[in-house]
């Protein structure tokens, strides 16, 4: 029971790191980016390929996955995404679905469609036996890493100059630009960090979630659930939503495996029906 809870928390934390970049682009920049999972997949593949083909240690791979995905995000933001910000939502949806399709088949073509395995270092394998609660070492590692990231993010957004600039740019890009803030550069940096976090999440999650070319499609709805249920006005909303989703999904698959993902979708629809702005969102429609 407690093991289940623990696994659920680890899963939820992972989902949060994967989806937090989406919360920023979607909530703050009001851009519907269905291709967010593609960045996560990129991070996962960078890690797998580096570890299995070049023999790079796992802990070194994680920052590389972050940096590589962030760079990819920055390049795509500069070239493709920027003209999309002002477009209607339908255009954004079509555009990002197109990117997902390209990413899925592109990876299939380059790497192949088989499931990729990751070989964890020895000190992350096995379980810690604490009072009959089996705690996977790797799960613990995920929780600690993601908790540190969450605290850092919250601190950056609320306490640093960059955070206040970002919030200003989001509230009103024109006024922020008039005050001398380089709005484009702020968005670029934010998008890059968001993509980088997704990449890091993909690298961390390759062992837990599985990694194959259909990753962006399989988890797209999960990321969107986290963001839409959590609301996009704060960081804590998506965090709580991700934890809830993680625990519900793990417990649901354990206790009623016949129903599968059915429960999660139903709960999501019920919550959105009850509170369309998300559980923790303010009622400010943008």
């Amino acid at each position: 029971m407690l093991t289940l809870l623990f696994d659920g928390v680890a899963y939820g934390m992972l989902l949060f790191v994967l989806a937090v970049g989406l919360a920023v682009t979607l909530g703050l920049m009001n851009f519907i980016n269905l291709a967010h999972g593609a960045f996560a997949m990129a991070g996962g593949y960078v890690t797998v390929l580096l570890m299995n083909r070049a023999g790079v240690p796992f802990l070194v791979c994680l920052p590389i996955a972050f940096a590589a995905t962030a760079l990819l995000g920055a390049v795509l933001e500069r070239t493709l995404y920027r003209p999309m910000y002002a477009r209607p939502h339908l255009d954004q949806v079509l555009f990002s679905i197109g990117l997902v399709f390209m990413a899925v088949t592109g990876v299939d073509y380059v790497v192949g469609s088989m499931q990729q395995n990751i070989h964890l270092p020895g000190w992350l394998q096995g379980r810690l036996p604490i009072e009959a609660v089996g705690i996977g070492k790797y799960r613990l590692f995920i929780i600690v890493t993601c908790a540190i990231l969450t605290i850092a993010l919250q601190w950056i957004l609320s306490r640093t100059r960059f955070g206040s600039r970002l919030r200003a740019a989001v509230d009103d890009p024109r006024v922020a630009g008039g005050l001398g803030l380089d709005v484009n550069r702020i968005f670029l940096a934010t998008f890059a960090v968001g993509s980088g976090l997704a990449g890091l999440g993909g690298a961390l999650g390759a062992e837990v979630l599985g990694l194959d070319p259909t990753f962006p499609l399989k988890f797209m709805i999960y990321f969107l659930i986290v963001v839409s249920v959590g609301g996009t006005t704060t960081i804590t909303g998506p965090l709580l939503a991700a934890l809830l989703l993680g625990i519900a999904d793990v417990a649901g698959k354990y206790y009623v495996p016949k129903l599968g993902a059915f429960i999660v979708y139903t709960v999501m629809i019920a919550i959105l029906l009850w509170r369309p702005q998300g559980l923790f969102g303010r009622a400010a429609a943008r």
């Binding site: 399709f101 390209m102 088949t105 839409s228 993902a261 629809i269």
Partner: protein, 347 residues
């Protein structure tokens, strides 16, 4: 494309003293245009002139019908849906199950599937009334995912991941007429004629619908829901109505697919169905009802062409096409002569 909403703002100069300007403007807007008549004439001609292509044409007609249903809610009511496959798949499974377990008559099956999809649409329409575009996207996607999961898990009923096999359709018979005993054969002649007739009937009905006061009020609430509500249009009821109608049409398209192929699989609920129909509609252009037909023709031909060349990686080119389409601009894409002009028109 001449039937754009601009036609409402700029009525043709007609002399008709008895009616109010608004009524005259609406009547001019609803007039049959020559290219519409040409299009309707082309439908039976395609059946007569291209007998060898009936199977492909049948697929095109079904996709076109599906896209028409999406156009009603996207082009006319402005609801971005990623879950139209829910109704398509529901119609397909209903028709297949009905033929397998109850009665193999296609027309009765079609009617049952349409009614069932309409009921599902009515039941789920409350979900799209609230919230932002994102919430609606999520909810429509969620409904399609739930149905996908249900079809997957209820394998005693639906055959699960293997699909529903052993569906035998009876011959097509229209009661009270001499038209009887057309079997669905491998050449697809009957299938295409059947789909074509359904498509034509739906088009005429939908055309009537969008040019009625109801259709015009839908466009009003698409353009500005707050303003539409404040002049007394009851937006919720209209959205429920149009969503239900669109669900019924999507169910008809799904039923046609299941009946003409004698098979229903999980694929009909899949996400790529919803994405594809969105693409089909966007290629053809939204908000004038016939976009789905042109889009379906272009899409299926492209699909055949590229899939013959690289069957496995067809999705890549589809994705590239989508990205380029949006970057160029949807409204400019169908007007190639504006590609190299000034960009200011779209901004």
């Amino acid at each position: 494309m001449s039937a754009t909403p601009d036609a409402v703002a700029a009525p043709p100069a007609q002399r008709n003293g008895a009616r109010s300007p608004a009524a005259r403007s609406l009547a001019g807007y609803a007039r049959w245009r020559w290219w519409e008549l040409a299009l309707f004439a082309a439908l039976p001609l395609s059946w007569l002139l291209l007998p060898a292509q009936s199977l492909l044409l049948n697929e095109i007609a079904i996709v076109a019908l599906f896209a028409v249903s999406l156009d009603l809610i996207l082009g006319y009511a402005g609801i971005v849906s990623l879950g139209q496959a829910a109704f398509f798949g529901f119609g397909a499974y209903t028709a297949a199950l009905f033929a397998k377990d109850v009665l193999p008559d296609p027309l009765t099956g079609l009617a049952v599937a349409v009614a069932a999809s309409a009921l599902l649409g009515l039941a789920t329409s409350v979900l799209i009334l609230r919230g932002s575009d994102l919430t609606r996207l999520m909810v429509t996607l969620g409904v399609a995912s739930i149905l996908y999961e249900l079809a997957n898990k209820l394998d005693w009923l639906t055959g699960g991941a293997d699909g529903l096999q052993g569906v035998v359709m009876g011959p097509l018979t229209i009661p009270g007429t001499a038209l009887a005993g057309f079997a669905f054969d491998l050449s697809g002649r009957t299938a295409y004629a059947y789909s074509l007739v359904v498509l034509a009937i739906v088009l005429v009905l939908a055309r009537r619908l969008v040019h009625s006061p109801f259709g015009v009020s839908l466009q009003a609430l698409r353009d500005n829901r707050l303003r539409a509500a404040s002049i007394g249009v009851s937006t919720s009821l209209r959205l429920v109505a149009v969503y239900t109608i669109a669900a019924a049409i999507a169910g008809a398209a799904g039923a046609l697919l299941a009946q003409t192929t004698g098979f229903a699989s999980l694929d009909v609920f899949d996400f790529h169905r919803s994405a594809e129909v969105l693409l089909v509609l966007v290629i053809g252009g939204t908000g004038y009802l016939y976009g789905g037909i042109f889009g379906a023709i272009v899409f299926k031909l492209l699909h055949d062409l590229i899939a013959a060349w690289t069957p496995q990686y067809w999705n890549f080119w589809l994705g590239l096409f989508l990205v380029v389409l949006v970057l160029v601009g949807r409204d400019r894409f169908v007007r190639p002569w504006t590609w190299f002009g000034r960009r200011s028109a779209t901004r």
